[in-house]
């Protein structure tokens, strides 16, 4: 039983009546909810509130970081050696592929000049670390340690070495929240790399699954097909690998096939992610699959991703300029 003795509300001559407090504060809550949801008036407030919360994050992260530091500094020699040789190996492979990449880039620039498509080819990325804090157990959101001060902005695409991870949904001063492509409120426009069929991959609330609800029964999709971003949303650049088709079920009675895919990005294992910076996001759209894009047909090794940008395919049609709010499912575009 709760102790009686410390104090209690005044029975006679109470302070401000409870109901008034409830009414007033309730009104304030509803007001800021509407402001926050319907418009961007509270963005700066959020920025600073998030900054005020950073000590909490610092405290929560300390044990993990200390552990990393400890294991890092006491890692035994053999393991470091093995790791070193492995990395050298990877670097060599990446170098070889880079040689190819250079020639491809030359070719691409030439083709682009021919078609007068002036997409800026930046390829600049920013590395962010995923913080060890819990955001929401039922939503696929994670927090990263880069914020508005580092130039993070809302709807910024997030990648890892294997594919698209998600996008930034909320920015604080020193940290920001990203939504993963597997969140059930997230959808990303994709196309089948083999034949260019466009569709939308909707998160299923499961790290290992994306749904493609808008592919008709007749559409040519096979298990193992690579899905790359189509860039039609104006948020994600075109041509980055998203997922691989794992399941296709065609019931002739239905209009749509049941298609599932598995995200290529290591959504549940990543510690570090890449944020694409603004100049990378020039409108590059619609890479026809037949145009030959070897970079996107297989997951790239880690070393390559930061420089390789398969986003620069020659563009056939203008990107929709409107930045659709990502968490809304868009209608099928076929």
């Amino acid at each position: 039983m709760v102790t009686l003795s410390s104090d209690s509300r005044n029975i006679i001559g109470r302070g401000p009546p409870l109901g008034a407090g409830l009414f007033f504060l309730g009104l304030v809550s509803v007001g800021i909810m509407m402001l926050d949801h319907r418009s961007n008036y509270l963005d700066t407030v959020r920025l600073w509130l998030g900054a005020a919360a950073s000590p909490v994050y610092a405290v929560v992260q300390t044990p993990g970081q200390a552990w990393d530091w400890l294991t890092g500094s006491f890692a035994d020699r053999n393991r470091l050696r093995a790791e070193n040789s492995e990395l050298t190996e990877q670097l060599r492979e990446a170098r070889v592929q880079l040689l190819q990449f250079d020639s491809l880039r030359e070719e691409n620039v030439r083709l682009r000049a021919v078609r007068e498509a002036s997409a800026g080819v930046g390829g600049r990325t920013m590395i962010a670390e995923i913080m060890r804090v819990d955001v929401d157990p039922f939503r696929h959101r994670v927090r990263i340690n880069k914020g508005a001060d580092d130039g993070v902005f809302e709807t910024q695409p997030v990648l890892d070495a294997f594919g698209i991870v998600g996008q930034v949904v909320q920015v604080d001063k020193y940290s920001s929240t990203i939504i993963l492509i597997s969140d059930s409120g997230h959808a990303i426009p994709v196309q089948v790399n083999r034949n260019g069929i466009r569709s939308i991959a909707v998160g299923a609330g499961d790290m290992n699954k994306l749904n493609l609800p808008y592919l008709t029964v007749e559409s040519d999709v096979k298990i193992g097909d690579l899905l790359v971003s189509s860039g039609l949303d104006g948020i994600f650049p075109a041509g980055y690998p998203v997922a691989r088709v794992t399941k296709v079920e065609r019931n002739p009675a239905d209009t749509f096939a049941l298609v599932e895919a598995r995200p290529l990005a290591q959504l549940d294992r990543d510690r570090e992610v890449l944020l694409l910076t603004a100049e990378t996001l020039a409108p590059a759209v619609e890479p026809p699959a037949s145009a030959g894009k070897p970079a996107a047909t297989e997951p790239k090794p880690a070393a390559e991703t930061s420089s390789a940008t398969p986003a620069q395919a020659p563009s056939g049609q203008p990107a929709p300029a409107a930045r659709a709010p990502a968490p809304q499912t868009q209608p099928p575009q076929e």
Partner: protein, 159 residues
């Protein structure tokens, strides 16, 4: 009221701990059932020190959760506020309830809280519909007797 200042320190201290607990990464199987420790503390302090822990206190606690985990500001703040309102309103009754009955009341409060959050999620258009979202209600109710025992002992020793 001689211990007003010390109580204030105690309230602040426990609230900071609860806020840290709210974002602490937990292993996957029990993560979904993470109890709303901060809300339990708001209920506890509203019962045992209502002059320190008023409605405004509860509202700011909710706002802290909004900043750390919420989708929009004000959502958890409103839910905290409503729970604190009912706690204050029935404070004199709830305090003399036997522990079992008190736990049931707290269970109802936690369910109310989750319902308000759930409802606002739905209004925003991003509902979480798995049944697992109600697990914190149960884990919170289980935690309540232990929390009361612990904090009461601490309060009595330090008075």
């Amino acid at each position: 009221m001689s211990d007003g200042r010390i109580s204030r320190v105690r309230v602040t201290f426990t609230v900071i701990l609860a806020i840290i607990f709210a974002v602490l990464p937990l292993p996957e199987p029990i993560n979904a059932a993470r109890p709303d420790l901060l809300l339990l503390l708001v209920i506890y302090w509203s019962l045992s020190a209502p002059r320190i822990a008023g409605l405004l206190f509860a509202w700011f606690c909710g706002l802290a959760i909004d900043v750390l985990k919420g989708i929009i500001l004000g959502q958890h703040a409103l839910a905290f506020l409503v729970v604190a309102y009912f706690t204050h309103k029935f404070q004199l009754r709830i305090r003399i309830f036997p522990l079992s009955q008190q736990t049931l009341t707290v269970f109802a409060f936690l369910a109310l809280y989750q319902f308000i959050v759930f409802w606002l999620d739905g209004i925003i258009g991003q509902p979480v519909t798995t049944w697992m979202r109600w697990l914190p209600v149960i884990s919170g109710a289980i935690l309540w007797p232990m929390l009361v025992a612990g904090l009461d002992t601490w309060n009595r020793r330090n008075r």
